[in-house]
């Protein structure tokens, strides 16, 4: 057996699995999106653009996703960056790893359970009751966009902290000292040295969180209470309740296309930002 045949045999089982469980199903979504709904649900073969013409019917879901996914990503970034900076640059190396692991651990425990904890905190007898006792009355948090945003930040913060931490950790602290020795104020050092050098980490973190948020279902389902819903919630409704497979496929396919376009534009933007700073990038 030649080495080439052996390599082919090694990748054959996983290749077959990818074909049957990824390529085939995604092709079904593509084909079904041009079909029609059967009388009792499901799918009837056809070639029509009717489902795509019907997309505005689910506009609210797309609008919510396209507003809250970037907003949630940005909010997570703003909270994660100072923490990652503190851990990577200002913490005693002895404690670094432990503190980082403590940030990441929640991410690997069930997001379902972690999200529903917020039903307690944001629900009537949680924070609103607490606020009422100090005189702030009639605060409603649960089933609002705020609740969904908090849930998003909470759920995905670890995923944002990790890549930024890795980027900042590699940063040579000598550069920061050099910057201050040359008379730069701390803010100038942060903006002109630290931030540009940690850009790859920021870019990775934002992309990971954004990708996961675009397909989010659980957080809006639990904390949005049917009032704040994402495309993911529309998909569950279309496939499991109204069983409109053709329209559901069109929604799913549109979601993938939107994701592809945003990610491509985003990567180009990041690439341009990075080449523009080649003079600074010492790494």
């Amino acid at each position: 057996m030649t080495q080439r045949t052996r390599n082919w045999l090694l990748i054959a089982p996983s290749g077959a699995l990818l074909l049957v469980m990824l390529v085939l199903p995604l092709s079904f979504v593509f084909v079904f999106s041009f079909g029609e709904r059967g009388l009792s649900g499901g799918y009837v073969p056809a070639f029509t653009l009717e489902q795509y013409a019907n997309l505005p019917a689910r506009w609210t879901a797309f609008k919510n996703t396209l507003i809250l996914a970037p907003l949630g990503t940005l909010a997570a970034l703003l909270i994660a960056y100072p923490l990652a900076y503190q851990l990577a640059v200002r913490t005693d190396p002895k404690w670094k790893t432990l503190l980082l692991v403590l940030v990441i651990v929640p991410f690997w425990t069930s997001i379902l359970i972690r999200s529903y904890a917020w039903i307690y905190i944001l629900g009537g007898q949680g924070l609103p009751a607490l606020l009422e006792s100090v005189g702030i009355e009639n605060v409603r948090l649960i089933y609002t966009p705020y609740a969904v945003t908090i849930g998003i930040i909470y759920g995905y913060l670890p995923l944002m902290v990790f890549p930024i931490y890795v980027a900042l950790d590699r940063l040579d602290t000598g550069l920061l000292e050099a910057s201050s020795d040359l008379g730069a104020r701390p803010l100038t050092t942060l903006l002109k040295v630290t931030l540009p050098l940690s850009l790859p980490g920021v870019a990775t973190g934002c992309m990971l969180v954004f990708i996961l948020l675009m397909g989010e279902f659980l957080i809006p389902a639990l904390l949005g209470g049917g009032k704040v819903f994402f495309v993911g919630n529309a998909l569950v409704d279309l496939f499991l309740q109204s069983r409109n497979w053709a329209f559901g496929s069109a929604v799913a396919f549109t979601l993938i296309v939107i994701m592809l376009i945003t990610i491509t534009i985003y990567m180009r933007l990041i690439a341009r930002l990075q080449t523009g700073r080649e003079d600074v990038a010492v790494m």
Binding site: I11, P82, W108, Y120, L218, V236, F239, W245
Partner: protein, 270 residues
């Protein structure tokens, strides 16, 4: 800055602490604490629906993790020596598998398998001859394991490949020069070196499969996994029993994760 860091850790752990605390609530109302009691743990563990769901989840997670770590490792090793378009296609598929939202994987698998099964079942029946005894294909543990394995196998390929990339090429060459067969080299040189990554891949696949709700929601058919049970219970209202289950699930994930960390760390030191 210190205050800020502490505040973020409180933010991260307060919800988990609240669930753990309320799981010991003596009263039956979820949000008003009436003293300590471990009764809900006992109730959860003697609830047949919970135990069935737990069993399903454990079986699916174990088979998924085993298949994913074997297939993923083989693929990662095979890919090393492969160049050209085949490798580019495989790489692209791995990234698509990881990037496509779980919910889309779920619905795509659902419609594809249901359609294929609808075509195949009459076939099988006619081949079988006897209409009553013929096996029928349907959504269930099998389809769930296949969907989970596809996704986690992609993760294992990425993890193991990262580890293979750090190995010296000369090790394999030295082994070959000493007349080891390719299989011998793999068993005695490569495998021990990548073992920590494979084991970490196994544990991550297990945790993913065990915690996954959204893919299972679509492709598990009439089977109920633990996350599906928890989700449908929450819809009916949060109870201390669910908190007890949640606390136990989080503890179990925690133990697995720490194990994965320790194993990976040990592998790095070697």
């Amino acid at each position: 800055m210190r205050v800020y860091t502490i505040a973020v850790y409180v933010f991260l752990y307060a919800p988990i602490a609240i669930i753990a605390l309320f799981s010991f609530n003596a009263g039956r109302h979820a949000s008003d604490f009436q003293g300590f009691s471990a009764q809900w743990y006992g109730r959860a563990l003697s609830n047949p629906f919970v135990m069935d769901a737990l069993e399903t989840s454990l079986i699916v997670a174990f088979i998924t993790a085993s298949l994913a770590s074997i297939l993923g490792t083989l693929a990662a090793v095979g890919l090393q020596g492969l160049r050209g378009p085949a490798r580019a296609v495989f790489d692209a598929l791995i990234y698509i598998a990881v990037m496509i939202p779980g919910i889309v994987i779920g619905i795509a698998t659902l419609i594809a398998l249901v359609t294929v099964f609808d075509v195949m079942n009459p076939w099988i029946e006619s081949l079988w001859g006897d209409a009553d005894g013929a096996p029928t294909l349907s959504m269930g543990k099998g389809s769930l394991i296949a969907a989970h394995t596809m996704f986690t196998m992609a993760l294992v390929v990425i993890i193991v490949r990262a580890r293979l990339g750090t190995l010296e090429r000369s090790l394999g060459e030295a082994s070959a020069d000493l007349y080891a067969t390719p299989l011998g080299t793999f068993r005695q040189v490569t495998l021990p070196l990548i073992a920590p990554a494979v084991l970490a891949g196994f544990l991550l696949s297990f945790t993913f499969s065990f915690d996954d709700f959204i893919i299972a929601f679509f492709v598990a058919g009439s089977e109920t996994t633990l996350p599906i049970y928890i989700f449908s219970s929450i819809r009916r209202g949060v109870t201390p029993e669910i908190n007890a289950i949640g606390t136990m699930v989080m503890l179990a994930s925690l133990v697995l994760l720490i194990a994965a960390q320790l194993i990976l760390r040990r592998g790095d030191r070697k």
